[in-house]
Structures are given as C-alpha cells and as structure tokens.
C-alpha cells in the first residue's frame, strides 16, 4: 500500500484520557496509538462505551469539561493538539482542518435558521466569501450533496427535510469548511437502510472530490465493509485490532473482533440462536488487569487475566492486542462462521 509509506496526516501516540465523575476517575482511553494517512478512510468500530467517540473528540477539542488528556500526543501538521488550551487555538483546527458529521441529523441542525443560512455561515467563516459569492458557494455545495432545486431548498427550514436529506445538509456544512479530515460519528445510525447506503456513497464521493481523509465511527461492523480502507476495533478504551478492511473481515485475530463479527444477523443461521457476547463491558472506573475482553471471552487464556497483551504484528498493516499471537500461545482457531466468511468471500448469499 503506497499510503502506508507517506507520513501520517494525524498521528496519535499513547493517548490517555480520564474523566472525573463524582470524585471517581474513569479511565476512558487507555494508551491508544493510531496513525491516519492522508486520503485514506479509516473506521473505528466498537460498542457504546468503548471510547470511540471520546477518542475522536480529543482531536477536535470537544471533550466534556470533566475530561482531561492525561498523557500522550496528538500530532497534526507539526502541532501537538494536546497542548491546546484555549478555544482560540482550537478554532484554527475545528471545522477548518478537521470537520465532523454527527450522528443524529434531527438534533445537529438549528431548527430556527434556514438551512441555506446554516451552510452560508460555514462558507463565510472558512472560505472567506461574502454576499453573492457566498450564496453561490452554498448553492454549489447543496447540489454537490445531491439536493436538487437548491435555490428553493436554501430558504427552507430543517423540519421541511427528511432524515436523509438533513444528513446531506450536515455533510454539506462539514464539506463547506474545506477541511482536510472529515470525522463521521455514526453518520447513518439514525437512518433507514436504503438511505444509509446513499449517505455512505455520498461521503465517499465527497472524499474523492475534496480529497478528504475520513474517519468513521460506528458500532456496526456490517456497514463499514464498503467504505473503509482500514478498520480499528476498539474495546474498553483501547484499540484491540487494526488492519486493512480485508484483513479484519477475512482474517480477524482478536477474540473480540471474532465476537463482533459473529453477532451480526447477516451471518446468523435461521432457527439457531445468534452468537451473543456474554456479560457486559468492563467498568472503566476500576483499573483493568490483563486483556479487558478476557472475562467475556469463553476461551480466554490464563495470562489474559494477568497481563495486558502487547500489540503483535500479523502483517505490516495488521496488528492485534491478544496473547493468542504470542509464539508460546496455544493455537486457537477462530469460530466457524468467521472462517466461513473468508471462504465465501465476495458471495453474499452463497
């Protein structure tokens, strides 16, 4: 992969984030490192509470007031974003360099302003255009995101748009900032399946047209196969596996990735119970010993409960944090339907 040789556009090193809640400390991100390369699209997948949203919010300075970055670095364009303290610093990054599409288009738009005005705000602030030029730029970006009849739509309010159309508007606002990185936080969770595919296609098209680097955040592994070049699987504040899309789907190595894939209804066999991950994610108020997934992993090794595994490299691009990859570990084969996925690869209803 040529991209891998380039310098990363965004590089996160050993990031630690802690929240203080009623005097207790919650360790939300536990030493996560990730390089994002220019032009690629990377998906961060994990359950709710795995820290995936907190992780990307750090890169935009959107942490809640009780959260703090306690260690590590976020390098972007020669700057260390963890050293930013004031909103003024962040305004140079937010929107202009890194823009975000939020989950719920019903709540991320201002209901009292026409959507044209909301997009124009971004255009004026970030592209420096005024008046008629700004208006023309808004119309252009509206048709870019597939909204027809732009002059009429410009004057409409968010309630006059359907869910999918609103998400297009949110994307238009993000793209109008001309960012280098676009973060999509569960961009399709609130939408129907048909609309979901259209929105993902739209984000892909925008990525091509504006040469963006995209970061997807999602809990559903099923939706990212189409859009992601690379996938990072997050569990309990840690990236447990990262690899190219093919590597993660066809040759997953971490038991948590196995479990996530197995629980997809697309892979279920009718009249048999669907694989369900037992138990609940660990409480991050307590310190985690060993592999965070071990208590829910029926085939956990003894060492999983004692020591945190290091990142083992499977290939140059594929890494996983599991003791199973240690040369001394017993050979544990992935569950059957994971192997089946690999064999029938490319043939959905085989």
């Amino acid at each position: 992969m040529g991209e891998q040789l380039q310098n990363p556009i965004l590089s996160i090193e050993d990031l630690n984030v802690k929240f203080t809640l009623r005097g207790q400390v919650l360790h939300a991100i536990r030493g996560v490192s990730l390089d994002v390369h220019p032009g690629e699209s990377i998906a961060i997948v994990g359950e709710s509470g795995s820290g995936k949203s907190v992780f990307v919010k750090c890169t935009m300075g959107l942490l809640d007031a009780n959260g703090q970055i306690t260690g590590g670095a976020i390098r972007y364009n020669g700057m260390d974003l963890t050293s930013f303290r004031t909103d003024e610093d962040w305004l140079k990054i937010r929107g202009r360099e890194i823009a975000m599409v939020f989950q719920d288009p019903m709540t991320s738009l201002n209901p009292l302003k026409t959507i044209g005005k909301q997009i124009q705000e971004a255009v004026e602030l970030h592209q420096g255009l005024k008046g008629a030029a700004a208006y023309r730029a808004v119309l252009e970006v509206l048709s870019d995101v597939g909204i027809d009849d732009a002059p009429r739509r410009y004057k409409q309010y968010p309630h006059e748009f359907s869910g999918g159309m609103r998400q297009r508007v949110v994307i238009a606002i993000a793209v109008a900032c001309r960012p280098r990185i676009l973060i999509c936080d569960e961009p399709t969770t609130a939408l129907d399946v048909t609309i979901q595919t259209q929105i993902l296609e739209l984000i892909k098209a925008m990525q091509k047209k504006y040469n963006l680097t995209t970061i997807y955040i999602t809990h559903d592994l099923g939706v990212v196969a189409n859009v992601a070049d690379r996938i990072a699987v997050m569990y309990a504040g840690d990236i447990v596996e990262v690899g190219t899309c093919e590597e993660v789907f066809y040759d997953p190595r971490h038991p948590y990735t196995w479990a996530l894939l197995s629980s997809l209804p697309q892979l279920g066999v009718k009249n048999e119970p669907l694989y369900a991950i037992q138990g609940t994610p660990p409480n991050l108020f307590h310190e985690i010993r060993g592999d965070a997934f071990a208590p829910r992993n029926p085939r956990a090794l003894k060492i999983d409960f004692l020591e945190r595994p290091p990142m083992f490299a499977v290939t140059q691009t594929h890494k996983a944090r599991t003791w199973l990859l240690d040369p001394r570990a017993p050979q544990v084969a992935p569950p059957e339907h994971i192997r089946a996925l690999r064999e029938k690869g490319g043939n959905p209803y085989a």
Partner: protein, 311 residues
C-alpha cells in the same frame, strides 16, 4: 400445509387515514395479510411507509378508516364491547423501539413492569403481583432485585428487556415488536433477538416484527411483507423473498443490505426504486396477485408476465 395453520391475526383491506376529513392523508392503503399462530411475521419498509401505523392500528391506538382487523376470529377494530376490549388489551402487547424513551423515568421498574396488572377488573393481591414481577424479570434474564431501581440505572439492552418483561407479564398471545433492536448496539441486538426467539419457543408467542433492516428480519421472521408508501407490495416466506424478490422496491431494499464482506460490497450494485417505472394507468391497474403459493406481489397484468419469467 399452510392453510391448516390457525390464523391468529387477519388484516383485511385495512385503510388508516390521518388529517381532517376534507384533506385526508392515507397512511395505510388497503393492506391485507394474516399472521399464523406461533409465527414471526415481518413488516419491512422505510420510514414513513406506514409500517408502524399498521402495528398501532392492530393494537387499537389508531382508528381505522375502513377494512377489518380480526384477532382470533373476532373483529377488533371500530367499536367493540368492553369485555372484548379488555381481552384484546391483555392478549396483544407491544414492545417499542427506543428503550431510552419508552420507559417512565420517574417510576421504578416494579411499577413499570406491573402497570398493566392494575387495569380495572383484575383482582390481584400485592403478594401475587410481586411474584409475577419477579418472574417476568427472571424470564427476560434480569434479577428480581432490579425491581426497586429506576430505568436510568440500566443500559440500553437491559432497558429493552424491561420493556419485554412489561409485555410478558400480561401473558399475551401476540406481541407487536416495533423496531425493537434498531436503537441497540450490534452485540446487544443479538442478545435481544435470541431472547425473543427463546420466549417464542417456550410460550408459543406470535410476533409482528416491524423493522427497516431486512438482514435482521430475514434472520428472525418466517414470512415477510414489504410495504411502500402505505401499500404492501410483496409478501412471501422469508427465504422465498430473498431468493426471488419480484417487486422493484423489494429488490432495491435487498440491494441496500450492508454486507460484512469487503469484496461483495465492492461489487455491489445499488438499485434505486423509482415508482414511475410501473407505467400504471386506468387500464393497467396493479392488483394483489398470488404468483406462487404463498408469494404475493402487487403487480399489473403486464408486470405479472414479466415476473413469471423471472421465477
């Protein structure tokens, strides 16, 4: 064979309208289907298609404009006797989409689960009631001591279980599950789906499963009806529907299912449904036709010929 199975719910020519009488909006347009006892019947469509409205019309939340809903052989839409109303209220229960907003935040789980038991005409002692709540909570995999807690103390999956316990305590025959897993995480979805099918096996429950995601519906449903803009466009056994989707809207929906498979996704051809493709006119009207035993499709004469060739 199918005809010998008992039809628990029959919906005949159901129409539901909203708005004023002068400017009615037809949310459900002459829908007909039936649900056999003990099966899971899927109703699939995009938002605004009327799938939720059908569910709500069956459970008597929405009044119907025309048509009939029969439950266990008796008509239950329109004016019905008080006894029948009580019977229907107990025997048909509902599970809602968003477990974050469908539970009363200010009530304890104990009350939420047993609220249905307080209905007038039921005499249940406090001890009996407690016992029933404990049992319902155990049935859905929760602990009896959760009864004294408030909903905000639970995760999304646990809340959905509370919602299921609330339906189960009435000992229903028929449960309408309106997008019960759309708001849940993938890993929790599997748990809730398994719970629903386990309960069905143990108690012989009948489900109407309303969803927009065909991949989930295929997994859990025996038969599926696809609804578009208030009209049911296709109905078949789920494997048959996946093997031979006929109506262009069904095919568009199927093509949109995300696959956990990068190669398949890359080669995927997305179909877009354009209602204009039908060329319906006064002389070329669509009808509800049974093209194969148990496989119905909304099609005109011409289209029916085309579809036959596809089979």
């Amino acid at each position: 064979m199918p005809d010998q199975r008992k039809k628990l719910v029959e919906v005949q020519d159901l129409t539901v309208q909203f708005g004023s009488r002068r400017h009615p909006f037809t949310a459900v347009d002459h829908a007909s289907f039936h649900i056999y006892q003990g099966e899971t019947f899927g109703l699939v469509g995009e938002s605004g298609s009327g799938k939720t409205t059908i569910g709500r019309a069956i459970i008597r939340i929405h009044p119907t404009a025309s048509g009939k809903v029969l439950f266990d052989g008796k008509q239950i839409n329109g004016p019905i006797s008080r006894e029948l109303d009580r019977e229907v209220t107990r025997r048909i229960q509902m599970i809602f989409q968003d477990p974050m907003s469908s539970l009363n935040e200010r009530a304890k789980v104990d009350y939420i689960v047993s609220e249905g038991l307080y209905a007038p005409g039921r005499k249940i002692s406090e001890a009996q009631r407690r016992e029933m709540v404990d049992k319902a909570l155990c049935d859905v995999g929760l602990l009896p001591e959760f009864a004294s807690r408030f909903p905000h103390e639970f995760s999304g999956g646990q809340r959905q279980r509370i919602g299921i316990a609330r339906a189960l305590i009435m000992e229903p025959d028929f449960i309408i599950a309106d997008e019960p897993i759309s708001a849940l995480d993938v890993s929790i979805r599997a748990q809730v789906l398994n719970l629903l099918s386990q309960l069905q096996k143990e108690r012989g429950l009948t489900y109407l499963f309303i969803a927009h995601d065909l991949s989930v519906v295929r997994f859990i449903c025996d038969r599926i009806a696809v609804i578009h803009k208030g009209k049911i466009v296709e109905l078949a056994e789920s494997e048959e529907l996946f093997a031979h989707p006929l109506h262009p809207y069904t095919r568009a929906l199927l093509s949109a299912i995300p696959q956990p498979d990068p190669i398949a996704e890359r080669n995927k051809k997305l179909l877009v449904y354009d209602p204009a493709c039908h060329r319906y006119s006064e002389t070329n009207r669509p009808g509800w036709e049974e093209i194969l035993p148990g496989h119905f499709v909304l099609a005109s004469r011409e289209e029916l010929e085309e579809y036959r060739e596809l089979l």
